[in-house]
Amino acid sequence: MASVPTRANARQARWHGRFAVSLLLAPAVLWLGALIILPHIDLAILSFRERVAPRQYVASLAQYKIFFTEPLYWHVFVRTAVMSVVATFLTLLLAFPMAWIIAKLAQGRARSTLFILCLIPFWVSETVRTLGWMILLRESGVLPSLLVKLGVTAVPVEFLYHDATIMVGLVYASLLFMVIPLISSLESLDNSLIEAAYDLGANGPAVLRTIVIPHAAPGITAGCIVVFMLTLGSYLTPTLLGGKNSQWFTEQIYTQFITRFNWEQGAAFGFLLLALSTALVMLGLRLTGQRFGDAMRRA
């Protein structure tokens, strides 16, 4: 019996289609809802209450007030932001030539080899990578003893627990996330544009400023946003490489939640960090005249 398309059939087909789409979207929706949105709502509620007696809470802004009145928190907060901005900038400076070589200069095999070399360190977990830095840099480690052997220093120097060490670790951990969007945006730059600019009298720096950077701007922005957020929210690298001196804001959050068991304070700090990263990203976008959507399409 030949089936005649009826209105009911059509409705059923449409329902099937919608069901398939929602099935495909389900993992993402669950992930967003259960692991990101729900906990954040809960944390938001937590951050706006104050414990007045055992098991007795009232709504208050006390958690946020503490942040603004206690100089230590302020100091750590600003320091984390500044260090993250610097780390992002250094990562960009280091990644740009790497991306340029991979996207524009290397050919064929050399190109894929270079790219894999960038990728390989990320096959190892962040913990192991950071511990690797510790093996290299601690007082009894590889680099200090090498310097003693070479006669550069008389006694082994402790390289760990400096700001510079944190910076090295952060830049190293972020490099790949800057290199990839840069490669993709530099690859799409037509070489004849560079030649045309050169032909019209531009020198190297002028080509970079007028052609390459404007073209790569969405890629640069995407890389900077990703790296900045990763750096601002990183915990392991500043803690292991900076020790007690690291004073990273994520450590403050950890301390509140785990050591002090003050979830209300920790939740408030978490939201302050979220506000900080959002504000700085928006500021960066505004300053460079970029749009968030354009940048994220490149990432």
Binding site: D190, S192, L193, A196, Y198, D199, L200, G201, I211, P214
Partner: protein, 372 residues
Amino acid sequence: MSTADLVADAVVKRFAEHVAVDSLSFSVAHGSFFSILGPSGCGKTTLLRMIAGFIAPDSGDIAIGGRSMQGVAPNRRPVNMVFQQLALFPMMTVGENVAFGLARRGVARAERVRRSHAMLERVGLGQAAAKRVDELSGGQRQRVAIARSLVLEPALLLLDEPLGALDLKLREHMKIELKQLQAAFGTTFVYITHDQSEALVLSDHVGVMNQGRFEQQGTPQDLYYRPQTPFVASFVGANNRIVGRVTRLDRESVELTTAKGWSIRALKRGAMALDDAVEGFVRPEVASLGRIQAELPAGQPWHSGEVQSLLFDGANSAVLLTETVTRREFRIALPQTGQFSDLKPNEKVLFSFDPARAVCFPARAGAAGQDG
């Protein structure tokens, strides 16, 4: 005699084993339109990029405006280039594109704007300065690319097949526009193309390039009417190519007989002896057509053929016929009068041509016996 704006002296460029440009020498007179015509892979792009300075010749010298360009970077040469894909800067407005070169020279902003607007005005895009590049049509972009270069008043403008990406109608239009622009500005143009019609229409002089060398240099008329090599005869304009051996020979002319025994007569070009392999060329418009012998010009040897198909193309209409004895294809242009437009396939016709307007060359190595 005007001075030469561009002189190439024994320029050589090799890529590994492949010789892209093989000891090439030529000069381009000031204010002229010089085209380099050749098939793809003949080395013309390499030559142009050496003139622009993007690659350095292995040996030989290129002088522009009487100054050797050895070791001079592209941004310091008095040369500008219009790229094949135009390479307009998409991150800038049309006005900024045209002002780009001036800015690099440190021209003050107000002056830059004034000069780039004046240039856009001259190419008929006075209103477009604030537009983005992707808002322009293909022909307008073409003009912006040329304006961007000409605003710098270069000694030499290089054009790398700039019409290649345009559709046919626009290409025909831009051809005329390019010629008018060149006449208006008086700048020396060096134009490379694989399209013989572009080269013939636009140029004062053409160099026909093949395998890294110039086969022939001359005016478009020279190339068309007096080709010096079989390559030029077959590459420039349509030609009937007839391959065979020399069966009779005198000082000026030669009789060529194909393997299947069809004989034609043509002017002798180059040294040849009896029984040498040769190739003859007869242009479609040189031959005349007739149904009876009286319709053919008197005194020309005539041949008979059979109509294969009528190729109607307005003013370029032609008839494709096969010679009766050898079944060899032969193309003849139809007269503009509309005569013979009623020819039918398989109809028997007679045709003839003036042997003084047909040419015969010694066969090229490897090219003989391809057909006929």
